[in-house]
């Protein structure tokens, strides 16, 4: 059975959610930034701000220069999580295999759902309507044989529209599109593409895999595959043996203390997800992205496998100082936990000291489940 991936994209997701909660924002240029500071990076923009030329990753100062009436809104994760949960419960009714990103981008594997929900186009229209009725948000939907093609299809039109790319026509469809559509194309990659006269996806096919690997390293293989319309990336479902958490860092937060705090929060969130799934992770990956869009990554193993905030924090912090080799501000940190395996809770006959730690985490997790991830946090000190 051929793969059929449906991609839902809600344009300007964070700002659209803010507009839902505050109707006075509708039609006004505003940006979402973690602080009012002029050096703070813009996390998300409203459609009106986009039309004014403001883009993500600009600083607040640059946004203000382009449109002086731009409002600055602080991000409120609780609102976004609430909307994402509503979307998730909706799409979960149609397929068990789906991946939903914090940016609201959603990939659904709709293979074999034809008998229950009709043709993919009918399912897409139904989803479009139901998302709008339930959340008030408009979405762009694309259908294709892979994540890349379905995403490219969803972004083809700038209006509410649906596009399905028929199997076999992927390369023809993607060839004239800008290389910006390809995953992981940061400023550095785009510059390299430009250096070699690659502007459209189709331009990549002029190069052999070896040549692409010589230019881009391991990513060359992927670029070659993508240029042929092939994308082998799987859909990471909730049960996928990988947990990923990401945090955005503003200019002011690049101090030693704040970075440590951010890493601890990442560790804390990963620990919570691991314990929620009653498992422990044996491998951790940390990716840091500098403000010039260059990334660095590192891996570290944990033996025995771990799932407590403090043990994960120690490992991630060591990893962070290992991979941070440049004296440039960081704008993003992503942490991933993999090699997950179930944790068997050995019951105790006698209360042991380590079980106090387990009980503490159990209590913290209960509070987090009820009042949100940030409801309770450890006070961190460097000696942890």
């Amino acid at each position: 059975m051929k793969k059929e991936i449906l991609h839902i994209n809600i344009p300007f997701f964070l700002s659209s959610v803010e507009s839902l909660y505050d109707h006075s924002l509708k039609g006004r240029p505003f940006i979402i930034a973690s602080s009012d500071s002029l050096y703070s990076p813009v996390l998300e923009i409203s459609e009106t701000a986009y039309r004014a030329g403001i883009r993500r990753d600009m600083t607040v100062a640059e946004a203000k220069t382009l449109e002086k009436d731009t409002l600055i809104i602080r991000p409120d994760n609780r609102k976004y999580t609430r909307v994402l949960s509503a979307i998730e419960s909706l799409i979960g009714r149609f397929t068990p295999i789906y991946e939903i990103l914090p940016t609201s981008e959603t990939y659904m594997d709709i293979r074999g759902t034809g008998r229950a929900f009709g043709a993919p186009e009918d399912l897409a229209l139904r989803l479009f309507r139901e998302i709008y009725y339930q959340t008030g948000l408009r979405s762009h939907i694309g259908i294709g044989s892979s994540k890349l093609i379905s995403k490219a299809a969803a972004s083809f039109f700038n209006t509410d529209a649906l596009l399905r790319v028929i199997n076999g026509s992927e390369q023809t469809f993607i060839s004239p599109m800008s290389v910006r559509i390809l995953p992981g194309t940061d400023k550095w990659i785009l510059q390299r593409f430009s250096d070699y006269g690659i502007f459209k996806v189709g331009d990549i096919t002029r190069f052999s895999t070896e040549e692409l690997c010589a230019i881009f390293g391991k990513s060359g293989n992927l670029f070659k595959l993508w240029s042929c319309g092939t994308d082998i990336r799987p859909i990471f479902t909730k049960n996928h043996p990988l947990i990923r958490e990401e945090t955005v860092i503003s200019y002011e937060e690049n101090s030693y203390e704040t970075l440590s705090k951010k890493i601890f929060f990442l560790a804390s969130d990963i620990g919570f997800r691991l314990r929620e799934r009653r498992c422990a992770a044996g491998r951790f990956r940390l990716v840091i992205t500098y403000t010039d869009n260059i990334s660095a990554e590192g891996y570290s193993g944990a033996k025995p496998k771990i799932n407590t905030d403090i043990s994960i924090y120690r490992l991630l912090r060591a990893l962070f100082y290992r991979i941070r080799t440049r004296r440039i501000n960081i704008k993003d940190i992503t942490a991933e936990a993999s090699l997950l395996s179930p944790v068997f809770a050995q019951q105790e006959l006698i209360s042991l000291p380590q079980s106090r730690e387990r009980r503490l985490f159990s209590a913290i997790d209960t509070i987090r489940k009820r009042f949100g991830d940030s409801a309770i946090r450890f006070g961190i000190e460097d000696r942890i």
């Binding site: 068997f344 019951q347 105790e348 006959l349 380590q354």
Partner: protein
Amino acid sequence: MKITLQKAEIEKAINFTQGIIDKRTTNPILSNILFSASDDKLELYSTNMDISSINQISANVETAGRAVVSAKILFDIIRKFPPGEIQMRRMDNNWLELKSSSVQYKIAGLHPEEYPTIEKPKKGDYVSVKSKTLLKLLKKTIFAVSIEDVKKILGGILFDFSEENYLKLVATDGHRLSLVKEPVSMKVRKKGENSLVLPRKGMQELQRILEETEEDIKVNIDDKMAVFKTETKTLMMKVLEGTFPDYNQVMPRDNDKILRINRQRFYDALSRMVIVSAERSNIVRISFSDEGIVVSSESPNEGEGKEFVEAEYRGTKMDMGFNARFIMDILEVADDEVIEMKLLDELSAVLIKTAQDENFLNVVMPVRMP
């Protein structure tokens, strides 16, 4: 010091003596053995400050004296010596010369005065205990002693003398508990003391002594120190400080579901299933039903397995998770061919004993399966 002795005898003695020496000691002198030669006998002393041993072997002593050398180096050298006589001589610079007809070694040593003083036990009230009885008691409890540094007191075996003419040994690591009692007349030599805890390492050494001897062992225990003596070997150990958990409180009393199963069949099934347990965690699932039990395990990366074992079960159907190692340890030392498990529910303590013997009781906590 100048002596001549048999290779086989000194090899055996060093092997026993070095068992006490910590591999990672912070005090380098403790990784050495003290030799003391006099009156046609050689005494080997070793200590880790908590446990000390004295081992006596016969030797032809030409010149009495003492020497201190590294236990590991000496053992490695002695092992490689050809069979026969070995001559040992302490040199002026404290080095030790080892010589046979064709082999000669000179190994670095320390001044004997630097070695900590190991006081020989005073001649006091020793009680004679049958080696086999004590060995049986140790074997049935030592596996349950905690090997983690979580609670120091759990790193030992409780000797409980509270029951008249009975010696009760109890060990627990917090997840399981083993209790065994035998008619032994023994007391702590201090009024008001009915029990004490002796360290695991000391018990392992005692087990080695008991396995080698047929004769009765002399025991003298007070509230600070325990001494175990045979004709040639003396083992002294400090009593662990702290309060051992009240084991009577954790003994399950309301377990109403009873399983009777063949010990060997049960052991074989468990040992087969642990091969594919997740992450080699030894976790197995046991499903109890009227026909018997099904032991199963699965590992996401390695596979899965299950085995049916016929058994007599009285109770409702139930699935429980166990660390198979905990049960296997009990089955390995149980004397009877029929094992009895008393259960309550999926997460409560399980009592495991042999069908006949009420003097060997084990409590095992289950594992909550995800």
